[in-house]
Symmetry: C2
Subunit: 284 residues, 2 copies
């Protein structure tokens, strides 16, 4: 049965979901909502959505609403959407933090129609023009605290990820926030700091980027990621990110100390240990 | 005029150079030398080299010798190769550190036949099987302290990089070592530390890599890089890498402090500054 789906926030994630859900036939109609008129227009031009509506009208017309705004906007919108969610309609969000969103609506009478989720996919680009088919294919997608949503609602969201080609994982929200702190948020923090370090160096050395190779480009890639998306993620997940940053700073300081003291056998072991990442990522 | 070229060290860099120099016609014959019999055999099977010879015989038969071993091996081989270099033959190396190699042979009578260079290209893989055509195309290639080599020798090496499709940059060796400290060595250090941090976390959380997304894969990619290649680079360039690591640790600590103290306007500015990397890398 084909669905009418609203997508609130027509960026990389929401836009890419819309494209694939239309293509697979899971959505018969995608209604787009964005606070930016420019993005709404772009999403129409790029055939990401079938129509644009005001947010309340969109939600009332939909079987499923996908909330894909930055997580600070989601914090504000989530209770409001649940207030007006029509019966038998489901709300899912796709944000990179889960505990604070769940906490925000934990006593809401419509809480069980909300399914908190997080697809582990993205690029460093944003907006409707960044959206593309196949973004979620073979990536992990997480549903958090599924026992707090109606089974029918969880089932619908699992169908969404099935149509996107994702591997579904059920997980506790706190565990999720710590996990993604390690495998996503930390990568962004260290990439931002790398960019800032080299940009500062550039102030007295204008030619430094002439030498940048593929290795640098790869490590600094995430530093292009939108501040509007990432600042609220760091803020909402600081409980987990702060200790992870401490762990990371300790490890890099350990690396530095070995080099400083000429303890090359220890540095050798450190790098050998790091090399094990190869097997971990290949196996995925 | 087609050349006979020896490649000492049949890894990613030496192997890829051999492939392109043969293809372009610049080399009529590539003689391969490697301390590993297995790599020598592989390089023959993959048609990377035309023949294998013992090192002294190879050098004596060549118009140009390319030294493409890890930089600790290069430190040992460099004076020895200069000792036996035939007249009118040239030696170039391609290592990621330059000052210590140059210092090592500064008083050698054949110093002027040696051209220290560094192509800013590579991948996280190594060995002859990692070599491929086009690795150096459109990448920067650096020649250091060109005034200390015979103009004819510098010219020959510039022809090599021209045939590889690289953009040539002349640079002082000390400046080179600091520059690549920022845009290459630092990236490797922070990637190794990221891998070690997440691998440690995995010890009590076996499933963590299930969630790894493209962002993590990109940031941690360099952590796969061979310890045999990278340990001596860090050791030889520690004079520049140590202060760069301090700068980086300061920046990441600054990021953490803003988050810890809830100074979101400062964190916003930090990330906005990092975002400028986009223009820098696009312009290249």
């Amino acid at each position: 049965m084909s669905k009418t789906i609203s997508v609130i926030g027509l960026g990389l994630i929401g836009g890419s979901m819309a494209l694939d859900l239309k293509k697979s036939g899971f959505a018969s109609k995608i209604i787009g909502v964005d606070k930016s008129k420019f993005h709404e227009k772009q999403a129409m031009e790029l055939s990401i959505v079938n129509t644009i509506m005001p947010i309340e009208e969109a939600i009332r017309a939909s079987d499923l609403t996908i909330l894909s705004t930055p997580v600070d906007a989601s914090m504000k919108l989530l209770p409001h959407i649940l207030d007006i969610l029509p019966s038998n309609s489901v709300l899912m969000d796709v944000g990179s933090t889960k505990s604070s969103l769940i906490e925000k609506v934990k006593d809401h009478p419509n809480r069980k129609f909300y399914v908190p989720s997080h697809p582990m996919a993205g690029t460093e680009y944003s907006g409707p023009s960044a959206a593309f088919h196949g973004l979620f294919k073979d990536r992990a997608a997480i549903i958090c605290n599924s026992e707090d949503s109606f089974p029918k609602a969880v089932h619908l969201v699992s169908e969404v990820y099935d149509h996107l080609g994702s591997r579904l994982i059920l997980m506790d929200a706190e565990a999720h926030d710590e996990h993604v702190g390690y495998v996503s948020h930390l990568s962004h923090a260290i990439s931002y700091a790398l960019a800032v370090s080299v940009l500062e160096k550039e102030k007295d050395d204008a030619a430094i980027f002439n030498l940048a190779s593929g290795g640098f480009a790869s490590t600094v890639r995430l530093a292009k990621s939108s501040v509007d998306m990432w600042l609220p993620i760091f803020e909402q997940n600081s409980k987990y990110i702060l200790p992870i940053l401490d762990t990371y700073l300790d490890k890099l300081t350990e690396f530095k100390s070995y080099l400083e003291r000429g303890e090359m056998e220890h540095l050798y072991e450190f790098i050998k240990e790091a090399n094990r990442i190869n097997d971990k990522l290949e196996k995925k």
